[in-house]
Symmetry: C2
Amino acid sequence: MNYRFANRMNKIPRSFVREILKVTDDEDMISFAGGLPNPQSFPVEAIKDATSKVLTQDGDKVLQYSTTEGYHRLREYIAERYQGQGLEVGVEDILITNGSQQCLDLVGKVFLDRDDGVIMERPTYLAAIQAFGLYEPEFHPVPLLDDGVDLHALETTLKEEDVKLFYTVSSFQNPTGITYSTSKRKKVAELMGEYNTILVEDNPYGEIRFMGEDIAPIKSYLPDSILFGTFSKIVSPGMRMGWIVAPPEIMEKLITAKQASDLHSNYFTQRVVYQYLQDNDVDRHIQSIRKLYKLQRDQMVQSIRKYLPTGVKHTSPEGGMFLWVTLPEGVSAMELFQLAIEENVAFVPGETFYTEDPEINTMRLNFSNSNVEEIAEGIKRLGKAIEKLQAN
Amino acid sequence: MNYRFANRMNKIPRSFVREILKVTDDEDMISFAGGLPNPQSFPVEAIKDATSKVLTQDGDKVLQYSTTEGYHRLREYIAERYQGQGLEVGVEDILITNGSQQCLDLVGKVFLDRDDGVIMERPTYLAAIQAFGLYEPEFHPVPLLDDGVDLHALETTLKEEDVKLFYTVSSFQNPTGITYSTSKRKKVAELMGEYNTILVEDNPYGEIRFMGEDIAPIKSYLPDSILFGTFSKIVSPGMRMGWIVAPPEIMEKLITAKQASDLHSNYFTQRVVYQYLQDNDVDRHIQSIRKLYKLQRDQMVQSIRKYLPTGVKHTSPEGGMFLWVTLPEGVSAMELFQLAIEENVAFVPGETFYTEDPEINTMRLNFSNSNVEEIAEGIKRLGKAIEKLQAN
């Protein structure tokens, strides 16, 4: 049979990260390539207790179909947590999703016709390019500076292009680790209102701050915007539990799209996660993750300074799971990747995080899923690979 | 802010079923409206054991990110089950999804550009209209006869229209309960090949046959086609575990779409379901569901014959969860619905299952989620409502 696929399938880049993960399965490999939380942080015993409890108390309901919006008490918990951070969010503003990746898909479905304008940070989260890409929009990249998006470039793009959405990872961005300053958050909120553009704020790492002060999401300055959250980094990514916060008119469309996409998110797991949150000191658990990742991040920063040549620049994130490295001008991270694999260390070449005109001398390093010894050794190996590349 | 949604959002019908389910939450209401399995059939204790086991043995991995394709051993189990039924299906032909509803979304994403032709059974599964509808195809309805699709109408449509997909629920169809005969299955397979059209065969109820002989899916006569399956009707719908079977070239696209949609299905639950399947006699469990539903189906058929006027026709399904009722010509099931609600009995008016020109005198009755006493009483109430309507 001769298959006739939809046009959109030609527009999506193959995930280089997915290809890399195949290479890095080797036991001797130290991998800074993935974006995995440290499994040491998973509350296995507490989840076991929570599961046993919900099945014992309410087994028949827990295994049955449920509502598209998600488990009411879980949504209530999330809303109250936001309220504690000063955000005005009610239970009806929250839709439970399959991790925040599904938030991207649902927002694309609800908003994007072919060729609609979407502003993306430059560089940006690869899987957002893929998720939105399937709705065939026109991407407008706007550069990131140390304290968030380049406001001048943002305003110019908003002025010159018809833009429906601006997608940002405002705290400890994937891939760069960059966080928007408070003043920049306020200014972005203003611009969105001025140019009638929907802000889509993805915040998977916000809770994983291990230095500095907590900063409120941009949504706190712009109630009429979309915010994504997830339990992937603080409870378990394998459970695929995320959520969207959105104002009523948008929420109605999102629910319709969610229903058509998969009826509702796994209700069994929603109940387990809620029970876990009820029965445990979640803030203490988050503190322990922060502590763990700070050690790993510090080790990576120190090792970079020790083992990589002086021409190499890097971000120093105050949270999250990633650090961004810029090699000297003209050096190709993709070429380095081949040599690094020979030294048994892996990373993701930065070019995969650009919608166009990639900066080929950049790379993303993950520090959450390696212990401090592995980090020191891995960066040392990376130093060797850079040396080899420069000797060529 | 003035919201600019995507065009596709205007094309999707609101789910009338969802609206109905709100009305039928009342305790006194006997509802034949939903499509829920009987919770009596949920293996609560066995799931509790399975969960405890996977978390104890492999907690760190069970809670971590996993592969887009799904848990390898679960896919192997599914493939082997098909092989036992004589289908040539390998592990690499299977992608784990969030229930079979997500199969619909992924197939829409991979195949459908705006105005592409899709043949739907008439009537058809409401949520398939919604899922495909978001990709803005042109629907071509083809009538169902007692033993499956009207072959003549199917061939005429294939000849006259450019059709990419034919969507069928080949066994115990939702909403009608109709099952394709073996000869019709073979003929459909031939026609698909002849007209280069992809068969999309949804088979959520195939295992729930309580009378007659098992019939192989159409896919067994047409390897180059797509088949959906689910654990919703035999283990738990709340867990949202389904799968797609597809040939390699299509599978590659489906995996790309799945990755963009939500990275992968809940890995924790995949492991739990697999453990459950390993440690229990699944066939015996399925037998007990068949037995339960047969009693309920028999009660419904008997009650219809006893309490509904002779002009009322109905299907007598050999499996599944639904039965289709046709009222005398000109009688509106939607009008009946209002009177039925007053009598505290609910159903779904048939018109919601048509892509166009609905037969307004039809209705869907679910028999899986009421016990035999409720079924007798509910159909009696329905009889009263029909009497009232005819007296008007």
